[in-house]
Symmetry: C2
Subunit: 279 residues, 2 copies
């Protein structure tokens, strides 16, 4: 299988699971539910949940074991975009060529939709799929919830956004850019691989390897963003230096996968895909 | 022991645990951390965490087993107040005679502090206290996280706030007021008792009994609020009819406690305390 058919197969599973877990637009409060669904089904690349499912498979787990957590990661990513677009934050009227959530549904509904998406993420992480898990399974699921909460909170994603806002009107230096990148986007991407490996039953060493793969990939993702937008790294270091940095990160990410051999082909291809993406 | 010394003993434990779990103001991003702490340490009555600890004890559990969950409930309550006070929501400049979080720290920091508090709540629910739990203990903790997520999300607290916002400029009828009360405040109060009983190792029947106690107490709490503010129930039904309703709820709440006998004295006293409070 090539990466693009792997991606579309996984994305289909993820979108179906997201559709099942999101509250129906027909149920009250319907405006809130519509805003939640609008935020989630707006053309995202589903990189975080794909990473979780792939990492689960690489350590020998079955994708359905990581599917609720994969949904949780996308719900958290979606909520963060809704809140980041708010007038008091980045004040963006558009996101992926569509109206941003608060433009479409009003500001208070957007705040609440974000809150509800974040809460639903942890509902997914704690949810049962019917099968009776042993202590090991239960422990992995509590661990997964803990890892995601840490990565998404004040010392992770939210902290990154807070520092990004601090530097809205001033030029950050390289170490600040690095802090913002590793926290605002890197932390959630990295934990996606980590959680997938954890729920797939990986050994501690395997989980940590995939976590490192996720960290390199997350920073890679953001540097490529900077190159495409001529921002951050690319502005400070120049495009060609930033590109060299990106290539080095892709190599480091792939090096983490060596012990998994051919099983990890999709994660290898994913690192190249992130490096070469044009949008 | 009387209720007031019970309450101050429990509040001390809760405040110490909250202080331990909140990120230090000395660490970056310090403004975010200061806003989080400001929101949590602003004179709250700690009713939700006290309910959780008391319910844990009533079923024979030890309070420390429910302490992280008790903190989580207060963190969720605190975040909801921060977001509810925002200009795009209730637009309140003051809360408990102090500046509201966004007035003190700015709007984007308030949004992010709320997000971080909600995330930290689920970190607490998934956290380990060092002791190695068996499958039963792990299952109860996953259950607790699931219960709280459901009560706090789109079909619970956030849903109640969404409907409340819908009726900002129109008069809700009695069934809408009831929906708002049972969701916006009732759901989190009810789940506090439920989660405490669950983590204390209560039987399914005991957990459900205390959950019902929590539901009656939550609605009671809100009707008394309405009576004190001459809003909602009190406006629609008149103060004396609302008071009769409140007294009936307090009786129903206490009836749920009958099988626990004298052990449940503090929950009984708490229902009376909620009924008679003047602020």
């Amino acid at each position: 299988m090539d990466l693009s058919s792997y991606l579309s197969r996984q994305r289909k599973k993820i979108d179906e699971a997201l559709d099942r877990c999101l509250p129906s637009e027909k149920k009250n409060p319907s405006l809130l539910h519509r805003a939640m669904r609008y935020a989630v089904f707006s053309g995202g690349k589903r990189i975080r949940p794909v990473l979780a499912l792939a990492s689960c498979e690489v350590v020998g787990g079955k994708a359905p074991e990581a599917l609720p957590a994969a949904c949780a990661l996308e719900l958290i990513h979606s909520y963060s975009l809704v809140h980041d677009d708010l007038p008091c934050m980045d004040d963006d009227d558009f996101r992926r060529e569509k109206q941003s959530c608060h433009k479409k549904f009003g500001e208070h509904t957007a705040v609440l939709a974000g809150d509800a998406l974040l809460t639903l993420a942890f509902q997914q992480l704690a949810s049962f799929d019917g099968k009776k898990g042993g202590a090991g399974d239960l422990k992995r699921r509590l661990d997964a919830s803990l890892m995601v909460a840490r990565a998404a909170g004040a010392r992770g994603m939210v902290g990154g956004q807070a520092v990004d806002m601090e530097y809205q009107d001033k030029e950050p230096d390289l170490s600040t850019i690095q802090y913002i990148h590793t926290h605002k986007t890197g932390a959630l991407i990295a934990v996606s691989a980590r959680v997938g490996a954890c729920l797939g039953g990986g050994t501690r060493k395997e989980v940590e390897r995939l976590y490192h793969y996720g960290m390199e990939s997350g920073l890679l993702f953001q540097i490529v963003d900077d190159i495409l937008d001529r921002e951050g790294y690319a502005k400070l270091l120049g495009v060609s230096e930033a590109m060299r940095e990106a290539e080095a990160l892709a190599r480091k990410a792939k090096a983490c996968l060596a012990p998994f051999g051919k099983k990890a082909w999709m994660l290898e291809a994913l690192a190249d895909f992130i490096l070469r993406r044009k949008a």
